[in-house]
């Protein structure tokens, strides 16, 4: 651990500033933040063009293999209501899914206008935005992966080891009590969640996205085989989207909980303030 800045005085506990995040980590973090923002909202625009998900190679029109569908349905009293079908259950989702917007400006789309780019129905532009940022996302991901393998970030900070797994119950308990360890290194829950996002969710997102490309299915037919069909891949793409959104929500809460200014500074400048008692231990950590 390199101490990059002076101590803050004699009061206890003394604070020291360490270099926490390497430049590759910081650049890719913000690259992903921007790309995922546009990928999410343009992706929901694309979903709205056919708001149903299926299991298998094809979409069942004469048979039923749907696991999710979002519709606007005219009820018996003539009112149009948003209706969401999920795994055999039907929910009234008027106001959010299927039917949304104010009474004067009703929108009959699966996801509401505030959740899509552009806000109005425009599949062509949704695709243009989505595929541009898909290239950005993949470019950032491959650069990050290469850099993290070479500089040891992946092995040192992301991949959970035996010690992390042993520490897991204790870390979970501490988190449940809103007590967060604060020494600049990732705890076992952080490592597990970052490993899940970076090494499972992101590759799954890229591969299921490629499986939806008829060109890539000709190039790499194994894509269709490993996911069990193009429509299953589309469904997985959607589920992993939801998981990444879930991660994002927890991530933001944890940044606020752990001290937003210190966290933001560390992800922008790399510098992070920790309690001085940690400065004498630990291995080198960017």
């Amino acid at each position: 651990m390199s101490i990059a800045s002076k101590e803050t005085g004699s009061e206890l506990p003394r604070k020291v500033t360490i270099r926490r995040h390497g430049v590759a980590t910081r650049l890719s973090h913000w690259g992903w933040a921007v790309a995922l923002f546009f990928l999410l909202f343009s992706g929901l625009q694309i979903f709205n063009a056919h708001p149903a998900l299926y299991i298998g190679q094809q979409s069942g029109f004469a048979f039923d293999n749907a696991v999710l569908s979002i519709q606007a349905i005219r009820s018996e009293d003539g009112d149009v209501r948003g209706s969401t079908y999920l795994l055999g259950h039907r929910f009234d989702t008027t106001g959010v899914l299927g039917v949304s917007g104010s009474r004067e400006r009703r929108a009959y789309s699966a996801f509401p206008a505030w959740a899509t780019i552009p806000s109005y129905h425009d599949l062509a532009t949704g695709r243009v935005v989505h595929f541009f940022f898909a290239w950005v996302f993949v470019g950032v991901y491959l650069s990050w992966l290469l850099a993290s393998v070479i500089n040891g970030h992946l092995r040192r900070d992301i991949l959970p080891g035996a010690a992390d797994l042993n520490a897991l119950p204790k870390t979970v308990l501490e988190h449940l009590r809103f007590r967060f360890d604060h020494d600049g290194r990732y705890n076992s829950l952080q490592k597990l969640s970052y490993a899940a996002v970076l090494l499972v969710f992101f590759p799954l997102m890229i591969l299921t996205g490629l499986t939806m490309s008829p060109g890539m299915d000709a190039a790499w037919p194994w894509l269709v085989d490993i996911f069990g069909g193009r429509q299953t891949a589309r469904t997985i793409h959607f589920i992993v989207m939801a998981l990444i959104v879930g991660f994002f929500a927890v991530h933001i809460v944890m940044v606020f909980a752990a001290g937003p200014l210190n966290e933001m500074r560390s992800m922008i400048t790399g510098r992070y303030r920790v309690d001085g008692s940690h400065s004498d231990g630990g291995s080198g950590h960017e």
């Binding site: 923002f37 909202f41 929901l44 694309i46 979903f47 063009a49 056919h50 149903a52 190679q57 094809q58 979409s59 069942g60 029109f61 004469a62 048979f63 206008a113 505030w114 959740a115 899509t116 780019i117 552009p118 806000s119 109005y120 425009d122 599949l123 062509a124 532009t125 695709r127 243009v128 935005v129 595929f131 541009f132 290239w135 501490e174 809103f178 007590r179 967060f180 360890d181 604060h182 020494d183 939806m212 008829p214 060109g215 890539m216 299915d217 000709a218 190039a219 269709v224 193009r230 429509q231 589309r234 929500a249 933001i252 809460v253 606020f256 909980a257 937003p260 309690d275 008692s277 940690h278």
Partner: protein, 263 residues
Amino acid sequence: MSSFVINRRGLLTAAGVAVSTLPLSGCDAFDGLLGYGQPLRDFLASANGLTYRAQRLLIPADRLAPEFSESEIRQGQRPNGSTDPTDPTYLALKDQAFAGYRLSVSGLVQRPLQLSLQELQNMPARTQITRHDCVEGWSCIAKWTGVPLSRVLDEAAVKASARYVVFHCFDSMPLGLSGSVAYYESIDLIDARHPQTILAYGLNGAPLPVANGAPLRARIERQLGYKMAKYIRAIEVVSDLAPFGRGGGGYWEDLGYDWYAGI
């Protein structure tokens, strides 16, 4: 090891602040920048050229799209786009079961052709069970029978300067507030000469129905459905797409969709 504690109210406030910013995020902030002809949209759309070149590099020219077994045909082919053209020329041909139909092959060819449906059906045929992927997101598996486009192009002897094949169609589609325009599409010569690229006249063992593009439609199995022109009237071999429509290379392309639809 020291740690810090935050109170629950602080955490809930932070969560509330984070969640309340969500509705502000998507909204309409980008609408003005993403309209047709806006520089930002044009810039983002240029990624389609990257996709096109990357896929051409990655996918061998003759690599086939996945084919399926008879048992995977579980439903009729879902019709989309035009399903019942009302253009007078088309209706007259349809009344006669397309007996008077002639496919015109012209442009950068040594021997322009006029082919009847019978003549097309007498040429060597290819039958394939493939997955149709619509740009909307759905897929449908069906069996298609037709003559490989490469056979027709060889018959017409394509000139060296040729770069694209343009399909001109009978069906009109809406354009602007009250106007309409004939559907058209275009592909490069790699897809035009691909073994699975056929001019289909049969669907699931029966003559091609009107809803699916009778008498003749294109199958371009490594691209999305909107590339696969239905109700084909004429084929034109060209070196430049600019003279057609608004220059986008197809009806949907002129409305903002990507020309290369392998993704």
